[in-house]
């Protein structure tokens, strides 16, 4: 049987929670680190590319000096643009409204870039043209004047440089970052599984041990590993189980002591009782001849001695059940005949309506069947109201004997205790004929019969129409096994 709560696959289980926490931690850390280094690297790559491009353009432009003619002719502008352009960059040259450009279909320059250039700074800007990253660099050409102040010449030079190589490097970086993220996720999951295993194994063991303890195996102990909190729990569990085992053992010992004492006392009483019985039998015979009170006293002594003898017999019988020494003496029996014999021997045949289909054969202990039936019928006659019925019913492997009366039935409060020892349903009925052990012995006798792992049973109840119903269920082929057994 699977202990409840330890079956795997719960979505809110510790394993899933640990897994999620680890994965989240791993992904977050990697995302932060990877994105941080990615952005940093991207910034550096772009900055270096831009700075290099700017330096390269200004170096190239140094060749344009000294200027010989302003305003330049369109040819001069075109020549200049051509000279400055190279494999990597296209150059556009402006002189006020004049414009020379090499091979560029459209003007990529932004107005804010041109404004910054006109303001007299080297300026650059990254733009996207047709989805491709492009770097625009622009500067004005100033003219040194003899007085040392530069004057704008009106010439503006712009370089258009593709950033695709840089983009490719950055994309490689991004791929690397994603790869790192994925790897760290896998790693985090693996770590989480290991950690979850480390935490969950002791917890699962603890759960299993607790379950076993709950099932009654008081010898259950856990292996204490390490010094963590789980080890503390395991140690506490072991201490608890040990104390429980000791106390239960103590209780069992005390109980068996008490039972042995009862058995011993009963045995010790048997011998003097036998002698007493012999004496009281003689007294009983003489009672009629004794005058008045003496005769009544003699009969009373005789009666009580008989009761005492029966009590001691019953106690000895009960002790045998308790000590597990009760044995079945199996025999093949016609159940209907056996029940009929029981009724006849006790002279109840007229008072009991018997419904006993013949031919129900069973292998059982006939003496015990007799004890049970006699007890049930006797009780019904004594405490119930007529009519008392005994009905036999057969199943393939079991048969039932139902004893029913038509009295008021059993009080619902009494019902659970009917088979308790010395339990008296009617407290006013103090010293009755029975020993108070009859039903307990009948119950034990029923349970002594076993078949296929099941025990025979004796159940008390009330019929819907009123009256107590005792149902005896016994196997038709009781197994001759160790009787009494472990309780």
């Amino acid at each position: 049987m699977n202990p409840p709560g330890w079956a795997g696959g719960r979505t809110s289980g510790l394993r899933v929670r640990l897994l999620l926490a680890f994965a989240l931690l791993g992904v977050t850390t990697t995302a932060v680190v990877a994105s941080g280094s990615y952005f940093q690297a991207r910034r550096v790559i772009l900055q270096q590319a831009q700075d290099a491009a700017v330096v390269s353009l200004t170096d190239q432009l140094a060749k344009a000096y000294p200027l010989r003619q302003l305003p330049p002719t369109q040819d001069e502008l075109d020549t200049m643009a051509q000279l400055l352009s190279d494999r990597d960059e296209e150059v556009i040259v402006y002189y006020h409204d004049m414009r020379a450009q090499n091979g560029l279909a459209l003007d990529p320059l932004t107005s804010e870039l041109r404004q910054s250039v006109r303001d007299g700074r080297v300026a650059w800007q990254r733009v996207s043209i047709d989805g491709q990253p492009v770097l625009l660099i622009g500067t004005q050409l100033m003219l040194d004047q003899p007085d040392g102040t530069p004057r704008p010449s009106g010439l503006e030079v712009y370089a258009v440089r593709s950033l695709i190589p840089e983009q490719q490097s950055i994309e490689r970086l991004a791929t690397l970052a994603w790869g790192t993220g994925g790897l760290s996720l896998v790693l985090a999951v693996l770590l989480a599984l290991v950690a979850a295993g480390g935490v969950l194994r002791p917890v699962r063991e603890l759960g299993r041990a607790a379950h076993r303890l709950g099932e009654g195996d008081l010898t259950t102990r856990l292996v204490v590993r390490g010094t963590d909190e789980l080890a503390d729990v395991a140690r506490t569990f072991n201490n608890t189980a040990e104390r429980l085992e000791r106390q239960v053992g103590e209780l069992r010992r005390m109980e068996s002591d008490a039972r042995r004492f009862v058995a011993d006392v009963s045995h010790e009483l048997r011998t003097p009782l036998a002698a007493m019985t012999a004496v009281t039998d003689v007294l009983d015979e003489e009672a009629d001849r004794l005058p008045g009170d003496a005769g009544r006293a003699a009969r009373l002594v005789s009666q009580e001695t008989h009761n005492l003898t029966r009590l001691v017999e019953d106690l000895i019988e009960v002790s045998r059940f308790d000590s597990g020494t009760a044995r079945l003496a199996l025999d093949d029996v016609d159940v209907a005949a056996a029940v009929t014999a029981t009724l006849r021997v006790r002279g109840w045949t007229d008072r009991v309506r018997a419904d006993l289909p013949p031919g129900v054969m069973a292998r059982l202990d006939p003496r015990r069947l007799d004890v049970i039936v006699a007890n049930l019928v006797g009780n019904a006659l004594r405490h119930g109201a007529p009519a008392v019925t005994v009905r036999l019913a057969a199943e393939p492997h079991w048969f039932t004997v139902e004893v029913r009366d038509h009295g008021p039935g059993l009080d619902p409060e009494v019902l659970p205790h009917v088979f308790d020892r010395f339990y008296k349903a009617d407290t006013a009925r103090t010293r009755s004929e029975g020993s108070g052990l009859g039903l307990a012995i009948a119950w034990e006798n029923a349970r002594l019969h076993r078949y296929a792992g099941q025990r025979g049973s004796l159940v008390a109840g009330n019929a819907p129409t009123g009256g107590a119903v005792f149902t005896l269920r016994l196997p038709r082929a009781a197994e001759a096994m160790r009787a009494g057994g472990v309780r």
């Binding site: 995302a31 700017v54 200027l67 003619q69 302003l70 080297v122 990254r126 500067t139 100033m142 102040t149």
Partner: protein, 163 residues
């Protein structure tokens, strides 16, 4: 239940982070980044200040020899040539100002330009053209005040405006 409500924003945060990372990839367009001051270098030839779009603008004309200041004022008074005119250059210096002579003023605190025509009627732009062209020709510097002497009197201490 409380754990679930706490997990949801966390999860959303991670998703947003990933979305931002995915969107922020590649080379993004930027604003204008400005660097050092614009490139500067020398010129060979005669620098003259003409007017274009109402502002005085430097032009450089090729010259085999360095002209004297008097000649420079003559060139200025001659106005833009044909090509310069075709590009929208004009001049506000009237042709009758030449010939001119340039020399230091009496107290040597500035430069004096003696012109042939009247200076009282000269526009401010024309004065700037003369003063700045003299500076460009290497006589004095931009902070040297220039006094114009004309047929109708003087026009006091001008300096080339910075632009």
């Amino acid at each position: 239940m409380t754990r679930r409500t706490a997990t949801r924003p966390l999860l959303a945060g991670v998703l947003v982070l990933i979305a931002v990372l995915a969107a922020g990839c590649g080379v993004r367009p930027s604003g204008v980044i400005t660097g050092s001051p614009a490139l500067r270098g020398p010129s060979i030839g005669v620098g003259l200040y003409l007017v274009r779009d109402g502002e005085i603008t430097l032009v450089v004309r090729p010259a085999k020899t360095r002209p004297s200041p008097d000649e420079v004022i003559g060139l200025l008074a001659a106005g833009p040539d044909e090509y310069e005119r075709s590009l929208g250059f004009t001049s506000e210096v009237p042709a009758d100002l030449a010939p001119a002579s340039v020399g230091p003023v009496a107290d040597r605190s500035g430069l004096g330009v003696t012109l042939s025509g009247p200076v009282g009627t000269l526009s401010a732009t024309a004065v700037d053209q003369i003063v700045c062209t003299l500076g460009s020709a290497g006589i004095g510097d931009s902070s040297t005040p220039v006094t114009l002497h004309g047929s109708d009197g003087d026009r006091q201490s001008q300096v080339c405006p910075r632009f």
